[in-house]
Symmetry: C3
Subunit: 465 residues, 3 copies
């Protein structure tokens, strides 16, 4: 039995207990606390905003079912995914509340608490005792207009929100948002993994769709490239400023046109082998960099996740269920071909992410501290956390400085968690800067400029927003 207790958000939360540090952190934080949110990379579903009358479903829809951080943790403690993803939502909510103690000391615990208090005014710890009551309180609020996605978007003070979209996406939701006259700025991001990775599920039919949506008949490598260029142009016309690429390893290597076409033809015939798939992906990263130099779209690279590690879960429930596990990642040698060719070009921006924190000080900070085109993305996924941020600041900045970083991304599917995530970043940034100030490494003048850069400016500048 876990205690139920008020959990009002302390105004100095996440700051050092040291007085001088906390005071400096508070002052710095307050100077950015109310700044609009710039969210340059994430996975929120744009359809939430396409329909002005859209509302969220149940508390389970909002907090549990789509959030693999939550379902993963509950599953790890022996709770069947069936009972979290299927069946009565009130029951799902009860399981969640009964197990809320599992999230102690985790970023999910922090975000959930913030969301309950800030969005719903629920100032108590979910528990077996209050589960039903909390379900009712939240359920009652959700249908009201002030809890609609568009209203929350405005209340959250989001200046711009970038979604992530497949290359074949017609961006109809983004069109609908534009045409509705609503002023929320929601931009697409071009993510071509499903056509560029030859082993992507349904690759062959994705290529057919690509032909269709691009108007370019994709019959060989050259027409494939044309089609991709067409899609990038379309995304750009819809406001996109960036592309995104998920790969297992960040290997880059250029193929000859001839070799690229041989592999592509094999793929069209369904006869491609593993080595060809790997070489083609490595080559396409080079191609994507080349296109970015041309069209100015900022390139994002997210390597290092071994997706769908748990075969039983993948077969029953599909992707994004908390079974993606990181692997060691190497950047110095893998990126050499790509950065040597494009890394000195001022027209190019490549933002690197990692799930291997050992590369922060060894590879990423040293690369970004040299190549003009390289910027480091913020701590990603499991590291979008207080300790993850502290390690990032401590391991990256001495070598790269803050001006070779890309500020913050929330990278979330959970729309409601966006303000909480940016708040954690702003507090962690303020606390880190305060630590430099009290140790006389920088002064408050430095820190007050840097906190503005970290909170908003670096993200806007790097993503050209």
């Amino acid at each position: 039995m876990h205690n139920q207790a008020a959990k009002s958000l302390n105004p100095d939360r996440y700051f050092s207990p040291d007085n001088a540090t906390r005071n400096a952190a508070r002052e710095l934080y307050q100077s950015v606390a109310e700044l609009p949110i710039v969210s340059p990379h994430g996975h929120v579903d744009p359809s939430l905003f396409a329909d002005p009358h859209a509302i969220f479903g149940s508390p389970a829809d909002l907090f549990i079912i789509p959030d693999h951080y939550i379902t993963r943790m509950l599953y790890s403690q022996g709770i069947p995914l069936e009972s979290l993803l299927e069946g009565d939502h009130r029951n799902i909510w009860k399981i969640f509340c009964e197990n809320f103690h599992l999230f102690r000391g985790t970023p999910s615990g922090i975000w959930l608490t913030d969301e309950l208090v800030s969005v719903f005014g629920v100032d108590e710890m979910p528990s077996t005792t209050n589960a039903e009551r909390l379900f009712d309180i939240i359920s009652d609020k959700l249908p009201s207009p002030e809890f609609s996605p568009r209203h929350l978007f405005e209340r959250f003070n989001i200046e711009v929100l970038c979604t992530t979209n497949a290359a074949n996406d017609l961006l109809q939701q983004h069109q609908a948002i534009r045409q509705s006259g609503w002023k929320g700025r929601i931009l697409p991001t071009f993510r071509p993994d499903s056509v560029v990775n030859l082993d992507a599920p349904s690759w062959r039919s994705n290529i057919d769709t690509l032909s269709e949506v691009s108007g370019v008949d994709v019959i060989d490598y050259q027409s494939f490239i044309c089609a991709l260029e067409q899609r990038r142009a379309f995304f750009k016309s819809m406001g996109a400023t960036a592309t995104d690429h998920a790969v297992l390893t960040p290997t880059t290597a250029e193929l000859t046109l001839y070799d690229a076409d041989v592999i592509f033809q094999h793929a069209l015939k369904g006869e491609v082998n593993t080595s060809e798939v790997t070489r083609f992906t490595a080559h396409m990263l080079m191609e994507m960099a080349r296109m970015s130099v041309d069209d100015g779209l900022v390139m994002q690279l997210h390597p290092g996740s071994l997706r769908n590690h748990n075969n039983i879960i993948f077969k029953k429930f599909g992707s994004d269920k908390g079974a993606d596990i990181p692997i060691q990642t190497e950047y110095t040698r893998n990126l050499l071909p790509l950065i040597n060719k494009y890394g000195n070009d001022s027209r190019f921006t490549l933002i690197l992410f990692t799930l291997d924190e050992t590369t922060y000080s060894r590879e990423l900070a040293t690369l970004a501290g040299h190549y003009p085109a390289l910027k480091l993305g913020p701590p990603w996924w499991f590291y979008d956390s207080l300790n993850g941020m502290a390690r990032y600041f401590d391991q990256v900045i001495e070598t790269a400085g803050i001006y070779n970083t890309a500020g913050f991304n929330d990278d979330t599917r959970a729309f409601l968690s966006i303000p909480a995530r940016h708040d954690v970043w702003r507090r962690a940034s303020a606390n880190w800067l305060a630590g430099l100030v009290v140790r006389h490494i920088i002064d408050m003048n430095d820190a007050s400029e840097m906190i503005q850069d970290l909170a908003v400016n670096l993200a806007k500048r790097t993503y050209k927003l």
Copy 2:
């Protein structure tokens, strides 16, 4: 010349110097300081307790000769192992005292200080000056009944102590303890490395012994499996709740019965090759997991130590002399076959350890934060230390939570150090929780439950004690 000084144990030792943090840490620590010790994994010799009249030998026997943490450090500074392992014990003790400054800032320094003060009331730093006197003081106490192993076991308030025993061990010491009527709970752990790793020293004769002790004539792979099952059943009947497996890499891969038998037959004929040894070990980890599903014994995996790195030392003095050096370890891909097959099974518990701290946040926390069967062991060996624990908490818990960890093990051969090691863990846990409390990440209600779990409950629950 190093100063000799009183070194009374400060009641707030190892806590943050920050007032608020220290106060919270103290309160949390005090709530568990007197709890019994649960020691679910270690290497204490059970014969210490089999004979009710057993006493310890000299101070050198107690503190130096069997402790590779101590002899390693002294050897690294040019002191010949001969002078530490052989000859006059008073002389060994003098060398140790003269060089006590080498342990400044090390966990050995912390444990030794605690043992001297808490067990022997020796409240001064060993040094050249007091070496002889300290030797006499301790030597005088050792023969008295209150310094007997059984008496210290009770004084240490040990609720249960698990030893580690070879598959062929007849557990006669454990039998003797049971039959003596003494109430100390000392349980065996099944460790089959010497018969499962085909390149173990004396493997062939170990197999003969296995036939003998199991009553199963081991002539092929199938009878080998039967014999192992018999041994596990015997260990279980003697109170064992766990198995333990030391491997260089945690590679897992299932062989067909046919292939397993081919390799086993090669081994019986002394014709096994390196690749076969590796594949067989990887297969046997799968088999051990399968048996654990059946018999409920908790499986422990300790990979990543390159044993006996120093050939000269190994030839002269044998194993466990401080020359085991860690290597990089990979879990995400290596464990995939085993965890995919058994990791979703609620009957199975696999506790993972590591000597490669880079895997904490990248692989171990993400795996344990998903698979129901996986739990993370505490910081091991070189990382059973204040900084090791701080890194563990900071790198593991945000992703895995504390409820996917296995609490604490001391994993020691040094019986006398057990209370000191558990005390360091309890203090480090209290201090870490206090840090979360003062930063308002959790509240004192959370922390007071969590400290109980970390101190005792998680270990008991995970090891089924």
Copy 3:
């Protein structure tokens, strides 16, 4: 626009904001603040001191042009290297001042600030506004005798400064210093990379020079070894106490004399292949260890930097322009042959460095905590920083103790930064020790001895100075 502000050096800079810790750190620091500087490894040009009338050039010569930490950071922000390395020095200085904010939170920022205040009395942050004025202030001072290299050497209180010199160096600058009667102690270090690594630029002509300077006609492997032994003896006669070896990976493996000669003959004919180059380097590390056992020169190993990663920069501007990027490094297995053969020999000292911080706790501390011949060098290059030092202390010392470390090296080309770098180390050491004291892990008696060791004694002892 970045603020211009006074930046006087706070006497408690870099110490913890916690009162008790800061007080202890201050006391410890003050006990070593005025000790002479022992600089056992670095890259200062000895010719600075050979001519008693030498003066430094412009502020750009002094602070920017030769410092790849500075040019790297400016280049990473899109400033062309041409504008930093070529043309009007006043203009170079202006670019630097305009971009001084890039160094916020970096060690370069710390060193530059210290140098400006301590050496030139310039107590304001460089900026667009004051760039010209600061250029004039510094330029006016440089020609005066009190800013001559020799005078600054004395003012900096440098007891000994070791330079790094190619095997073929005739050490004429060192001779000139000796013969001038000036008492500054400037010693050479033997670095044979350009003749030992068969793929070094101009290797063939380096060998011809080696024949010439050694008086040994290098026609085969055996004469090559003789020539190297001659050079080592010469360096030793000139006061050298150490050698230095830069390698991509620390692989060691002994060749037979026959195989070594076959490879060497291939190299002489320009027909050596990559595998032979690698095997020869691995072998030569063993040979260098063997010679160190004989002649007592301390061996330093600096592995893990992939040099000249940026081909465009390398072609235009050559080496050491900030484009050397670290790679993962492995020591446990790579060093096994060398340490097994020589690591137990008390006549041998091998100092290991790393650019892969993951090896601190896993491999380096465990190796140095066992083998008598091994010592760990201080945090190197990107890690010669406050966080780099904090991680080093936290990850190395619990296992290796401080007495298996080699104290501090500045390893710099930037003569002016030497006092600032040693000051950062002394402050970081004091702060780390203070943290142990306030947590009652050591006492002030321990700490006051340890700070002396860290500041000076360990470096002197390990390098035999």
